[in-house]
């Protein structure tokens, strides 16, 4: 056990090293939430083109498994994170609601893409204007489809919310594009006047 003496008062702080045993104190729900946030068993409810981004997220390049959201479960009863990826039509809404009801608590819902968040540009007779009309949503990720980076942001946001025990809906905000920020954005239709 290493010892460290601070100041002249003679107080010593004992620091545990890796090979030694000891204990740490925390709140029970914090421990539980810490365990939950790294073991998200996901149920992908994939209906539309956002599925391509979901595949990119799940495959090694962006690698969702880094954040503990590794194993997709194809039964809602074994899952605790519902990914709704794509447009939900009015006809699918009862199925989605039933799947949500079958999931065991604690359960989280991830609205992937603009269509799942608010219906997108499908403002018509057949499309559900956002899955939050039917089931509560924890994280919205806008984008058509969202970049995998935005989805990772959403996943980390969800983990943060789980750790804090916060169930209010959250939105992934757009990141400032460094190219736009630098004023180097190429504008179409404007020719250079430097000739």
């Amino acid at each position: 056990m290493g010892e460290m003496t601070t100041g002249g008062a003679g107080t010593t702080i004992q620091v545990l090293e890796g090979s030694e045993t000891g204990f740490a104190t925390t709140r029970f729900d914090a421990l539980l939430n810490w365990a939950r946030k790294y073991s998200l068993f996901q149920y992908p409810f994939i209906t539309a083109c956002c599925a391509m981004e979901f595949m990119a997220m799940a495959s090694p390049r962006f690698d969702m498994a880094r954040f503990g959201a590794e194993a997709p479960r194809f039964s809602p009863r074994q899952a605790d994170l519902l990914w709704v990826v794509g447009t939900i039509s009015q006809r699918q809404a009862p199925a989605l609601k039933r799947i949500y009801e079958q999931m065991a608590d604690p359960k989280y819902v991830f609205a992937f893409g603009t269509c799942a968040s608010c219906g997108g540009f499908y403002d018509n007779y057949t499309t559900l204007a956002g899955i939050d009309k039917v089931i509560p949503v924890d994280v919205y990720v806008p984008g058509c489809p969202p970049r995998p980076e935005a989805v990772i942001d959403g996943l980390l946001l969800l983990q943060d919310k789980i750790a804090r025990g916060d169930r209010t809906p959250a939105i992934v905000k757009p990141r400032r594009d460094p190219i736009v920020q630098a004023g180097n954005l190429v504008r179409l239709g404007k020719k250079s006047t430097a000739t």
Binding site: A93, K97, G119, F121, D123, A129, G130, V134
Partner: protein
């Protein structure tokens, strides 16, 4: 090329071919809806026409622009003779009464789902269809969504929608894209929601 098909049709059916035109290689004949199946069967069986491929069947709603309001459009192609033709038939008055036409399933089996879709979207009644029910919308749906008198913002949810009073700012009660509707001249009344 396939203007010959129009000539054959006109010589065979005479007054039942209401009008024809040919433009950019597309040949169109507007025909008598009473003779719809007869003409289709002739086009399939006649060796000069030999329309052995059913390409497409749909309808157009010309409410307020012409009466009869529906125009059923049929596209055919001959794989043997390498020509194609478009047939149209005008049916239905302004209240969509009499929107009946003979089914083409006895002529081409492929017409089955096309006619079901046309029935689902426009309410055109295909007489003699073996299984005329909705194909895209759910059975509980009331009305025909692609008719011009169907309100553009009318939805018919199957499950009761949640009412979340404290929603986040981007997703208010009127989410979707209402600005796309600003040019429409119908009222956004309560009875349409």
């Amino acid at each position: 090329m396939s203007k010959r098909v129009l000539e054959i049709l006109k010589s065979k059916f005479g007054d039942d071919i209401y009008e024809t035109h040919s433009q950019f290689g597309d040949d169109t004949a507007v025909v008598n809806p009473e003779k719809w199946r007869e003409i289709a069967r002739f086009l399939r069986d006649d060796p000069q026409c030999a329309m052995n491929m059913f390409v497409d069947l749909t309808a157009v709603d010309y409410l307020g622009r012409q009466t009869p309001r529906f125009e059923v459009v049929l596209h055919l192609r001959s794989m043997e003779r390498n020509h194609r033709i478009r047939l149209k038939a005008r049916i239905g008055d302004e209240d969509a009464n009499g929107a009946d036409i003979a089914s083409l399933v006895p002529v081409w089996k492929g017409a089955n789902w096309f006619e079901r879709e046309c029935f689902d979207m426009f309410g055109v009644n295909f007489k003699g269809h073996p299984d005329l029910r909705r194909i895209l919308m759910y059975p509980e749906f009331v009305g025909y969504p692609l008719r011009k008198d169907y309100p553009a913002d009318k939805i018919q949810p199957l499950v009761e929608l949640r009412n979340v009073p404290d929603k986040l700012p981007p997703f208010g009660i009127d989410e979707g894209m209402p600005f796309g509707r600003q040019t429409h001249d119908y009222p956004r009344g309560e009875e349409t929601n």
